[in-house]
Symmetry: C2
Subunit: 436 residues, 2 copies
Amino acid sequence: MTAYWAESAYVDGRLAERVLLDIEGGRFANVRPDSPTGDAHILRGVTLPGFANAHSHVFHRALRGRAQGPGSFWTWREQMYGVAAALTPDGYLALARATYAEMALAGYTCVGEFHYVHHGPDGAPYDDRNAMSAALAQAAADAGIRLTLLDTCYLAGGIGEPLSPVQRRFSDGDADTWAARAADFRADPERIRLGAAIHSVRAVPRKEIPTIVAWAAERNAPLHAHLSEQPQENDACRAAYQRTPTQLLAEAGALGDRTTAVHATYVDKSDFPLLAAGFGCFCPTTERDLADGIGPARGLADAGVALTLGSDGQSVIDPFEEMRGLELDERLLSQRRGNFAVGDLLAAAGAAGHACLGWPDAGRIAVGARADLVTISPDSPRLAGIADPLAAAVFAGTAADVSNVIVDGQRIVSAGRHLSIDVANALNAAIEAVTQ
Amino acid sequence: MTAYWAESAYVDGRLAERVLLDIEGGRFANVRPDSPTGDAHILRGVTLPGFANAHSHVFHRALRGRAQGPGSFWTWREQMYGVAAALTPDGYLALARATYAEMALAGYTCVGEFHYVHHGPDGAPYDDRNAMSAALAQAAADAGIRLTLLDTCYLAGGIGEPLSPVQRRFSDGDADTWAARAADFRADPERIRLGAAIHSVRAVPRKEIPTIVAWAAERNAPLHAHLSEQPQENDACRAAYQRTPTQLLAEAGALGDRTTAVHATYVDKSDFPLLAAGFGCFCPTTERDLADGIGPARGLADAGVALTLGSDGQSVIDPFEEMRGLELDERLLSQRRGNFAVGDLLAAAGAAGHACLGWPDAGRIAVGARADLVTISPDSPRLAGIADPLAAAVFAGTAADVSNVIVDGQRIVSAGRHLSIDVANALNAAIEAVTQ
């Protein structure tokens, strides 16, 4: 049993003071506000539940600051494919390890990796056909955070279009082969869980979708899909199928309470009820970086969709930026302020994010829950003078203000440093290897 | 003579390596790339010219994280007025000192303060009728950054509307009285310069504007004005004057090469040529926070307007966020990427920003220019793995990554700490005093 004492902590939807936290077997055994410190480890400042990064393409970290020239989402995608083409299992491991460690520094205790770089550069499987999945699992273990491996089915270069050469390594050929390979990966229910992803209605033909849906249902596993990130996807889907991407997924049985629609930037209002049982993952920093636009976050939430957040393209790794981005981009759209309460934004990055990744027992500081803790330094000039530490964190906090991170009871970040990885050096080396 | 040696530095629009910088009398006496270190002070990482914060309402710092509930710009303004009502010369000094010190930590070496809290709470002048201006000058001197005091004329509560009670302390009654008071303030040409501001066409009747214009012209001083921040301003101006706010200012002679139009969020395309000779100050973090919307930055720049940047409402104090905000918000508007080159964004925060505040000799690392330097730590995980340090700074840097700041040859920030002010504690104390 390990004990921590938090100066203040976010418990049951409100800030509690002087909270004694006993941890046993990686879970909270006791959560006691208004307690003396005893001999517990002291966490100064405000302590929050761990953040879930519900949508990550980890290798995009190599593109940060590199692909900012004129163009669109589609020209950016060509640059991204350049990095995808350079990945090897070892290179993927090194890049993912360093990037997951950067996520740990920022307060992410769990990541959902939307993983589709499955095979060798020419499309031929590796000897271990899950070598790339194994690299991600090892990377998360090394960085100390939990992983939901969202094994992604990617079969086509567009609706009715063949794969481009670089896309060949993403494809298993058909959904049955994808399903067999994905089923073959050995997860670790305590730290690494398995989910499924339909890359998009662009990359998975309609007839293949039910196989992926059934695979996820058999395992009671999360099912994610990129949805209406760009107007072109909507146009192509309507032209091919006379339906919106949302309608297509709904008819294929892909929308339910284990489903996360990622982006949903251009979903139609009439689609909202179809998505209401599940999750909607917004990626504000990426959607701004990629010039995607601003999705209908408030509208989806009003329809019942549980919003979650992801760092996606890694142009920024900062859960605080994502939380306030959800609210601030809605302001740009609506010219109204206060669209989401602070608690809603914390839930999106916390409990809802973990739930959409298949960890309903994380993201809360409560007896029985997984013992994830993120402490924000009380010394930051950015947060000074703000009476409400929760509003301070959400509206003014940054990754740089995270001092301490605990995952499943294990401390992985202390005094703002990762305890086992020199993150900047690891990133430098890993990115150099894939951008030569 | 003091010598610094920068590992790399932004000189003449490009990155130079191993740059020896001799400083004499607060200016660069030599700028020599490819030099040995000698016995110079070493600046590790990338060193940029100082940033200019072209639009600041310093007391809004007390509102950070406090006024985020439902509403609009206009309901937020009521909360802002609550703080304005609580200011005293001593309280203003303490809050401005701490906030300018936070700006220094972020790399701002100069601030343009759009200052209109001139008088006592009931509107009666203080014994020293420039007591509030003097507080700002003292605050900037204490924090170590230069100040352009934009003495702001504020006479009405709206077009044809009386002042509200809290607005009385903003008003000098008429522009002649404003001009006499403003002229009476003793600046310090080396550190504190004086400029004029027309608060807006809402707060200054048309007939009073030429007096302010003449005052600024006599002194060859900067002239700033809030312009079309909200659609309501446009509507009210058209209703009262049958003109856009830009047309009104143009006819009053207020638009020229010393003029900065602040926000310009809702300027009409037909207004662009009228603004072309001057500056346009965007405040991306504030315009997002206040739900203002996204202004036509690229369109104005194409028309010839020199863009600059300001932290305005202080919801964030981070020049890197402002720089990339200009580009990223344009992406949300246009669905195109790469609207501004990295050099354009650095110029907006650097040389152009200083120029619009009346310091044309600052914002560049060049012989004869003011010796302002901002060094970004090479150890930040946020910036790791990015080949181009300029793109890294602009697209991934944060205030937390600034390690060293020099203003007019004086080092004010070292190892990320302000050398004379405990910034977080100063902010805590100053804000507590005005929010009781």
